[in-house]
């Protein structure tokens, strides 16, 4: 991939984008296909999923059997380098010392950003998710409704390649006909869950994930996405033909050298570079968005991490897609006379309304799944089935505001270091099993464990936000963030419901429990803030400029040529994963920006 050095950078670009992940990648793709000259500043190094993904490696080939260490915080083979919750020299703070009030902040410092490290679950927000305040009196409304974003969900899904099924579920929208790729068949445990959950009135349906289950239609989709643009059609068709369908082995978190699983580098940046309209500067840590005398964004000051030298990239438009809180930090660190409290912050809302998925899990052992005839259960590896929120229409009758989805985790997965101790509770051995007994236990019980994980909605509140820490700075002297986090009673009540429902589903499957579900003490079950890596907000989109940071096109109210293209704009977390919505919003914002540029409005 041709990358440039600071010396090779052009005098000026149409658009300077900070970040190369889901939002920045989509922006760069859309803009460069339409002839806009773009520079991406990426804080990390180039990472090539084709040559660097350890796809079929077994754990015994990795140091320490591949377990997570401070250097590789999601395990050795996770396609994350120089990334994690803790990065040396790049600190952040938490305002409280209480355990439940800690926020953990994952940063991805590499080409393609967090799209390298992603389960690829790609669900649309539903109509209700855009109108939380109007419907339930909590959280905030989006300035747009579902129908306004739906066309870009379709476009993003066609471009990225997403499998799934249209099930007609309330508030879990269908895609347009012909958009989704066929979902993989369920595993035995997923079919069992489906059969048993149905009796509880809960549907188990195919999940949607950004994985090709068959080749993309390179003859049809490019024309639909780029009408009247032959060059873009050709580049996209060419790139689609470089992607192979899933080989039904290896975890997408390891990266995908055949490009079946989506990542920004393979799907967005590769064709964007071939357009000739994109330069990428890796190892460039953005410090500040600069303003010109007219009060417009004029570019970005950044540090070349390889030399420590500071440079400036000039652009007519600046797009921030650094990974929601990193973009917020950039705004807060861009202080000037017109914006003493940070750029685009006349509302005082920059950093406010931070939300994350509300998550917990329950697991059990399912005797029916013991001693099954041996078979390969890899499938697409990871999630294939889920339970969309089944009480969406009855939310007002519940004692919590946020719905949740439940994800089944089952199957004869590749054994890990933990496998050795996983039979202790089911074994009939006198003592912890070892020797012949352990081998027999392993053959009998392996694959009979079923976990269900819930991820739920969180309404924006006043207790969860970030700000600049008064003292703390990173190794380049850039002020660091300090987080304020507090789960409200609303989220804790949701987790109680999650625990009860998941236990009922596993019970209906005949599950044996080894730990009581935490129905009465949800604070024990709830995942720490930031742990699910779905954090969003901090520069929210809204209809009222005194209460939000951007308009519905993700342009900041104060500085219209400054656009937020990542999770920072979310005015709340839905029971869906954020990435697909980040891509659809960035796609929509890019289309709008192109119009504005063509009309000379920016």
């Amino acid at each position: 991939m041709p990358l440039i050095s600071p010396k090779q950078k052009k005098r000026e670009y149409d658009v300077v984008i900070v970040g190369s992940g889901a939002g920045g990648g989509q922006m760069a793709y859309s803009l460069t296909m339409e002839g806009v000259k773009v520079l991406i500043l990426e804080a990390g190094r180039m990472f090539d999923p084709v040559t660097e993904s350890a796809m079929l490696h077994t754990w015994d080939q990795a140091p320490l059997r591949g377990v997570a260490t401070p250097d590789k915080q999601y395990g050795f083979y996770d396609a994350s380098v120089e990334s994690g919750w803790e990065i040396p020299g790049e600190p952040y703070a938490n305002a409280s010392k209480e355990k439940l009030r800690q926020f953990q902040w994952w940063r991805q410092r590499m080409m393609g950003g967090r799209t390298n490290h992603w389960g690829r679950v790609s669900l649309r927000n539903g109509p209700y998710d855009f109108k939380t305040r109007s419907r339930l009196g909590v959280g905030l409304d989006w300035p747009i409704c579902y129908d306004e974003l739906a066309p870009w969900y379709d476009k993003a899904e066609m471009l990225v390649g997403i499998f799934g099924a249209n099930e007609g579920i309330e508030n879990s929208p269908d895609s347009s006909p012909g958009v989704l790729l066929p979902p993989p068949r369920f595993r035995a445990g997923e079919l069992l869950a489906q059969q048993r959950a149905r009796k509880l009135g809960i549907d188990v349906v195919p999940i949607h994930r950004a994985i090709l289950t068959r080749a993309q239609d390179a003859a049809r989709i490019p024309g639909k996405l780029h009408p009247r643009n032959r060059k873009a059609q050709r580049l996209l068709a060419q790139n689609m033909r470089l992607r192979l369908p899933c080989i039904y082995a290896t975890d997408c978190h390891r990266g995908c050298s055949i490009k079946a699983a989506f990542d920004s580098t393979s799907v967005y940046l590769t064709p964007a570079l071939k357009s000739g309209n994109l330069d990428i500067l890796p190892n460039s840590m953005a410090r500040e968005v600069t303003l010109n005398k007219a009060g417009k964004a004029s570019g970005v000051t950044f540090i070349d991490k390889t030399t420590g030298a500071e440079h400036h990239a000039k652009g007519r438009v600046v797009v921030l897609a650094a990974g929601s809180q990193e973009s917020v930090r950039l705004l807060l660190n861009s202080k000037s006379n017109p914006f003493p409290d940070g750029l685009a912050n006349s509302s005082g809302k920059v950093g406010k309304h931070l939300t994350d998925s509300v998550a917990s899990r329950v697991s059990a052992q399912i005797p029916a799944l013991e001693n099954l005839p041996l078979h390969n259960e890899d499938g697409v590896v990871g999630q294939q089935a889920y339970m969309p929120w089944w009480l969406a229409g009855q939310q007002d009758k519940l004692d919590f505001s946020g719905g949740y989805k439940a994800l089944t985790v089952s199957g004869r997965k590749m054994p890990s270091l933990n496998t050795g101790r996983s039979f202790d509770r089911v074994s009939e051995a006198d003592g912890i099993p070892f020797g012949k007994q352990l081998k027999e236990d392993a053959r009998r019980y392996y694959g009979s464990f079923q976990g269900i994980g819930a991820q739920g909605a969180m309404a924006a509140n006043d207790d969860c936000y970030c700000e600049l820490d008064p003292q703390l700075k990173d190794k380049w002297g850039i002020p660091a963030l300090r987080f304020h986090w507090k789960w409200s009673e609303d989220e804790l009540r949701q987790v109680s419901h999650q625990q009860q429902a998941m236990a009922e589903i596993l019970d209906a499957m005949g599950g044996r429990f080894f730990r009581k579900p935490d129905i009465d003490n949800p604070e024990k079950a709830i995942s720490q803030g930031g742990r699910i890596i779905h954090e969003v907000g901090g520069a929210i989109t809204g209809a009222d400029r005194s209460k939000s940071v951007t308009n519905q096109w993700c342009q900041t109210w104060d500085v219209p040529n400054l656009i937020m293209a990542d999770g920072a704009v979310f005015p709340g977390t839905a029971d869906k994963n954020p990435t697909l919505t980040i891509m659809a919003l960035a796609y929509r914002a890019a289309d709008h920006l192109i119009e504005e540029l063509n009309q000379g409005n920016i």
Partner: protein, 218 residues
Amino acid sequence: MSSPRLNRRDALQWIGAATAAIPLLERDAPAADRSGARPRSVVANGYGPDPDLIRAYSPGELWPLTFNDAQRRLTIVLCDIIMPADESSPSASSLGVQDFVDEWISSPYPGQKSDRAIILKGLAWLDEEAVRRGARHFVSLPAKEQLAICQELARQAKKDSRKFPGSFFYRLRNLVAGGYYTTPAGMKDIGYLGNTPQTEWNGPPDEVLKKLNLTPQQ
């Protein structure tokens, strides 16, 4: 890449220091003193935040190992008590699991630190126990007696996996069994048939569906 990889010169220095230090501290010291001796702490670096993900790694490559000959011999015996060979699969030691255990307890990362202390202490404890039973070392005890000691430790581990010496056996068993099932031979023995590229995925075979009374998904 900026990873602080161990270079050859440092590696040789560490290995030299390690082989010089271990016999004094652990091999030649009287058994009674050994159990109380604090194990040396690890001073090596990890693989850094940007390691080569593609190449295969072997124990001892990234940081120096710890075991002396006696500890290694003992661990081999324990490996094969915990995961013995049978008609269908090999023993843990034949798969080199003892080297993984050594790699693990020699790790420079904080996550393995307490395992290091407990496992080294536990190995010493086993030899003391053998002395109490009139043998020179655990490895020279009759197999039956070795097994009886492990069985007792397994019972203690089930009662309280944090209390020594049950904690030692618990952790060693976790490492040996987990180390075993993460090898290709171990994966085969447990019945994992995946990690094989396929052009199609058709869901579970009919015999599985039949056993579970399920209908295939359309």
